[in-house]
C-alpha cells in the first residue's frame, strides 16, 4: 500500500494542476494579507473561500484523477496485490497531495505575516485542519462516485451535484425547515442537521473560534450550551472524523465488490 501511495503521491505533486491550486491559494492569501493587515480578518475571508473551493476542487479533482488513472488501477489489480491496498494507496496519494498544496499555499504567506506569534494562531490552525478535512472528505466522495459510475459524464454530473448539494442546497433546505417550524423548539433539530453536512460542521468549528459572541447572543440555551462548551467542539470533531472514516470504509468495500 505504501509503495502505491508513494507512487501516486509523487505522480500527483508533479501534476501541473496541483501547482496551479497551490499558486491560487498563495496568491489569494498574499493579496488578502496585503489588503488588510488584520490576520483575523484574513482568516474570515479565507474561511469563505475555503469552504466553497476545497470541496469543489476535492470532488472534481478526485473524480478526474480516478477516471484518468483507471487503467493504471486495472493494471495494478492484475498483480498479486489486495484491492484494499491498491485503492487506499491511490486515494491517500491524492488526498495527501491535495492537502499539502492547500496547506502550503495558505501557510507560506501567513508565515511572513507572523501568524505563529499572533493571537489568531489557534483559529488559523483550526482553519488549516478544516480545509484538510474537507479535502479528504470530498475526494473520498469523489472516489465513491467514480467507482459507482463507469460513465464519466454521469460521474462528473453526480460529483458536481454532490458539491452543490452540500455547499448550497442543504443549507437552503436547512433554513427552510427552520423557518417552517419556527413555532417549535428547534435546538435539537439544528444540532442534528449540522451533523449531516461536513461543510457546515467545519464552518461552525471556525465560527466558534471567531464569533462566539454573535453566535451565542440570541440562540436558545440548549444551542448555547452545546456549541459554546468544549463538549460541542469535541462532538463536532468526532463527527468530522466519522465523516472521513465511514466514507473511507465504504469506498474500500465498494472497490472490493466492484466487477471490473
Amino acid at each position: 500500500m505504501f509503495k502505491i501511495f508513494k507512487y501516486s503521491f509523487f505522480d500527483m505533486i508533479r501534476n501541473r494542476w496541483m501547482f496551479i491550486y497551490m499558486g491560487f491559494f498563495l496568491l489569494v492569501t498574499t493579496v488578502l494579507l496585503m489588503l488588510s493587515n488584520d490576520v483575523t480578518k484574513v482568516i474570515i475571508s479565507l474561511t469563505n473561500i475555503i469552504q466553497v473551493l476545497t470541496p469543489l476542487i476535492g470532488i472534481l479533482f478526485g473524480t478526474m484523477y480516478y477516471y484518468s488513472s483507471r487503467e493504471f488501477i486495472e493494471l495494478l489489480l492484475t498483480q498479486p496485490l489486495s484491492r484494499k491496498s491498491v485503492f487506499a494507496g491511490v486515494y491517500l496519494g491524492l488526498a495527501m497531495s491535495l492537502s499539502l498544496s492547500l496547506v502550503l499555499g495558505v501557510t507560506i504567506p501567513m508565515l511572513f505575516f507572523g501568524v505563529f506569534t499572533s493571537s489568531a494562531l489557534s483559529t488559523f490552525l483550526t482553519l488549516l485542519a478544516m480545509s484538510v478535512v474537507l479535502s479528504i472528505v470530498f475526494s473520498l466522495l469523489a472516489f465513491l462516485i467514480a467507482i459507482r459510475y463507469e460513465d464519466k459524464t454521469k460521474g462528473f454530473g453526480v460529483a458536481i451535484f454532490t458539491w452543490l448539494f452540500f455547499g448550497i442546497i442543504y443549507d437552503g433546505i436547512f433554513l427552510m425547515l427552520l423557518l417552517v417550524f419556527k413555532e417549535y423548539p428547534l435546538e435539537k433539530l439544528t444540532i442534528t442537521l449540522t451533523f449531516f453536512n461536513p461543510i457546515d460542521l467545519a464552518r461552525i468549528l471556525i465560527i466558534l473560534k471567531l464569533e462566539i459572541s454573535a453566535m451565542m447572543g440570541y440562540t436558545g440555551a440548549v444551542l448555547q450550551k452545546f456549541l459554546g462548551s468544549l463538549n460541542g467542539t469535541i462532538l463536532i470533531t468526532v463527527m468530522l472524523t466519522l465523516w472521513t472514516v465511514i466514507p473511507f470504509a465504504l469506498m474500500l468495500r465498494k472497490a472490493n465488490k466492484k466487477d471490473f
Binding site: K41, I44, T47, N48, Q51, V52, G167, I168, I169, D171, G172, F174, L175, L178, L179, K182, L186, E187, L189, T190, T194, I199, D200, R203, I204, I207, E211, I212, S213, A214, M215, M216, G217, Y218, T219, G220, A221, L223, Q224, L227
Partner: protein, 397 residues
Amino acid sequence: MVEVCASCEINNIETGLDTIDACDTLLINGGQYQVENIVIKKSMTLIGKNNPTLVSKSGDEILTLLADHITIKGITFKDVTTSYINERSAIRVKRKKHFLIEDNTIINCFFGIYLEHAKKGFVNGNTILGNATSEAESGNAIHAWYCEKIEINNNEIKGHRDGIYFEFVNESIVQNNHSELNTRYGLHFMFSNDDVYLDNKFINNGVGVAVMFSRRIQMFRNLFHHNWGRSSYGLLLKEIYDAELVNNHFEENTIGIFVEGSNRVNYKRNTFKKNGWAIKFSGGCETNEITENNFLYNTMDLVVSTQLNDNRIYHNYWSEYTGYDLDYDDLGDIPHFPVKLFSYIVNDVPESIVLMRSLFVDIINFSEKVSPVFTPKDVADNTPSMVIFENKADDYK
C-alpha cells in the same frame, strides 16, 4: 487634629469622634479596627494614614454620614455582609450635602458607597472590589438614589451587581471610571436626567451600560468592551429622549447598542468594531440621527424590526460598503443598505445563526442586496463615507 491608633491615647474611632469638634480632622493611623456601625453627626474630615482598615464586626453598615461637609479619605473598608432586608453599605451618605469620599478601598462589601438624597458631593478615586456571583445576592458598588449634582470620578469597580447605579439622580457627572466584571450593569441609569458620563471603561459586564427612562443624558468617549454572552449589550437604551452619544467605542459586544423606544438621540462619531450586532433597533424609535460612525467588521451592522420612520442615517463609514466614489468627494456615489436579509431571518428564527457565513446565506444576502424585497428599502445610508472617522476612544483599549 486628633489621632487614633492602637498605641495612642485614644485607641478607638468612636471615642475619637466624640472628642473632636465640628470641622476638625480625625486621623486614623494604620492597623485594623473592628467596628460596629459608626454614625458621624458633625462636619469633619476623616483621614486614614498608613492604610487603616475598618472591618465590620457583625457585617452591618460601617460608616453613616449624617452631616454636611464630611471628607472620608484613604481608608479601607471590609466585610459588610449581604442582607435581604437592609441595603447595608460601607459608606452611606444620608440626606446631606458637600461630601468628599476619596481614595478609599472597599473590599468584599454588600453595597460600596450608598448615596441617599445626597447633593453636591464627590466620589473620587476609590477602589471597590466585590465578589458577586449572582444578581440577587449582590449589591451595587456606587449606589445613588435621589441625588443631585454629584461627581463620580476615577473609581475602579469590580465584581458587584451594578458598578454605578443612578436612580432619580440629576445633573451629575460620571467620569474616568473603570467598571469591570459586574454581574448586571457596568453603569445603570434609571429616571435620571441631565447627566453626563465620559471617558469611562465598561469591560466584561453583563451589560456595559443601561440607560433607562432618562432624558438628556450625554455619553462621550466611553469604551464598551467585551460585554458578551446571552442577552449582553454594550449599551442598552430604553425610553431615552434627547441623548447625545459621541465618540464612544464599542468592541466585541454581542450587541453594541440595543435601542428600544428612544427618540431624538444623536449617534455621532462612534466606532463599532467586531460586534455581533452593532446597533439593534427595537420598536418605537423616532427622529434619531446616526451619522459619521465607523462600522467595522461587525457580523451584522444594523437591525431594524419596523420601519425606520424619520430616523436618519447618513455619512457613516461601513467596512462592508462595496460602492465607489467617482467624484472624489469622499462620499460613496451609491447608497449602502446596512440591513441584510440574513439578519432579518436571524431576528425571526434565532437558531438559524448556525448558518452564518455559509455560501447559501451569502447568496441570498447578495440577491436581496441587488433587489430588496424583504428588507426595508428606506433603511439606507445614501451618502456613505469612504474614509474612517477619527475617534479618540479608539485608543482607550
